[in-house]
Amino acid sequence: MKLLASIRSVLSAIFRRSETERELDEELRAHVQNRADDLERFGISQRDAQRRARIEFGGYQKFKEEGRSELRTSFLERLRQDARFGIRMLRKAPGFTAVAILTLALGTGATTAIFSVVYAALLRPLPYEKPSSLITLGEIRGSLELGSQLDTQYWNASYPDYLDWTRQSKAFQSLAGFSGDAFTIRTAGESGFLPAGEATINFFSTLGVKPILGRDFAAGEDIPKGPSVAILTYGYWKSRFGGDPTVIGQAIQLDDNSVTIIGVLPKEFEFAPRSTADIWVPLHLSTDFATRRSLRWMRVIGRLAPGVKLEQAQSEMRTITAGLAAAYPQQDAAIQVVMVPLRDRIVGQVQPLLLVLFCAVGFVLLIACANVANLLMARAAVRRREFVIRAALGASRGRLVSQLLTESMMLAAAGGALGFVVANWGTSLLITAIPKGLANTMPFLQDAHANPAVLAFLCAAAIFTGLAFGLAPALQISHQRATRSRKRADPPWAGIAPGFAIRWWSRKLHFHWCSWSAPV
């Protein structure tokens, strides 16, 4: 109840300051007035009664001030006291404070920077429209292990089969295909190697990607003698053409063909299965590739029609496949179609890598936290006598705890603030460290900044560490309030505080980090 009363007075003091002030004034004034009225009843004149009442009240302003300070929240007062005391204590040990803050800053900042870059590069949502509807379709011979199909970036189908699927499938609103390609680009005397992607006309529209300049492929542009048109990726447009908007309509020489640039892809665009492609061209198929049903080379992606579930698409495809197997027993017998959502293919590749990275980063943070914890505990051990005396003088355990809490929070706040600076700087540093060629395929990375969500999480982690290891010694110390001697014979590092804290928390959290992290 006392806590409730305190909270009430806190809230009223914060939010109704002027009202509280008015009430205080009204109450005291009423008191004096009452007294004056009583005095008047005894026959004293009104003016004398007022004067007497005031005198009897005593120092009006003084008591008003005292009353005001009693009314004012004790919580805020204590907080202010703790903060002032904490700052003084921290200033008295500048080395400790500096190292603690620096460690926290580096720990949180570095890990945030890494998380941010990884997030921007690998974890961001796929830049397509409704990416969960995008499914990859690959043909396999029945005997192959399904598992081996799933962790590759390659899945293939033949062009005639693809055409049949397009004609017969209702579960998919659109089916597109792509493959890798490469050209020698010739300009004014020099030539270069240009990795590319070739795709069906509806490739980008299936993905739901619109060029930011120019236009998408149009029907009929996938001529066998081609390509005759091309769409540039944003990175290539920036690096090779300097971001010149007049590039649309320009002709470039790819192998032996003069190719017109018709569009530029958006900055956010990225297609992992063909991430190195600098330009995209429509399919230009020789007769063999276009007609041989047993030649499986094209990767097919489909967008599920609205409301259609993967299972429905799969069962429809089984029917279609059965039909094809019957119609073309030589090429399509024992063929199965494997449908895997595009996201799984892309992320699945990356997941093990991410796991390792996150673990490594997590350990870095743990080590930073452990170092700060060491510092805090060593400090607490040194200050043990101070706490014992304060406890003996009557400081409640709650008071001691809250004071240590305030100190830890201030350290965590300072560390977090500096960590934010480190994170931003670190993110930029990491991005510039990426090799130029790779960076060009990921133009969206230039925008990456310290991810606020991750930073918030890391600040929370820092605060948690501060709390956990700052409190443990305080709690343990106040446990032994009167019993523990003030004998000066005991060295401050009597093994109690650090050992106790570790064992206490290990028991509480079943967290055997001390056996893991060697530096501790």
Partner: protein, 113 residues
């Protein structure tokens, strides 16, 4: 004899708690009641009442509500909480013990040493 609030802060709190336990009252009423129940022997410095009242409210021993006094003025009335009742009983006990102990000590005669 005037009881100085600063010298015996605990005593003033005790008197306030006792006075309020007899029934809700506003600040001035509490003052009058203390004077009354102490047989007019104790005169409290009036202003000192209020810091004490606010402190008791903050400690959760009293609760305060605005209401109208008997002369139709708006006034803040104080009443004891359950914690306040408990504290009053405790303080009464301590006080009696103290008085007993000091009384016995003061009756000591040279022969008893």
């Amino acid at each position: 004899m005037t009881v100085q609030a600063q010298i015996l802060p605990g005593t003033l709190d005790l008197l306030i708690l006792k006075a309020v336990s007899l029934g809700p009252a506003h600040g001035y009423g509490i003052l009058l009641r203390i004077e009354q129940i102490s047989g007019k022997a104790l005169l409290i410095e009036q202003g000192a009442l209020y810091p004490a009242l606010f402190r008791l409210v903050r400690q959760g021993l009293l609760k305060a509500n605005w209401g109208t006094s008997d002369n139709n003025r708006r006034a803040k009335f104080y009443d004891l909480t359950a914690a306040g009742h408990k504290r009053l009983r405790q303080e009464e006990k301590s006080w009696n013990l103290l008085v007993c102990a000091i009384g016995t000590a003061l009756e000591a005669r040279p022969e008893e040493i």
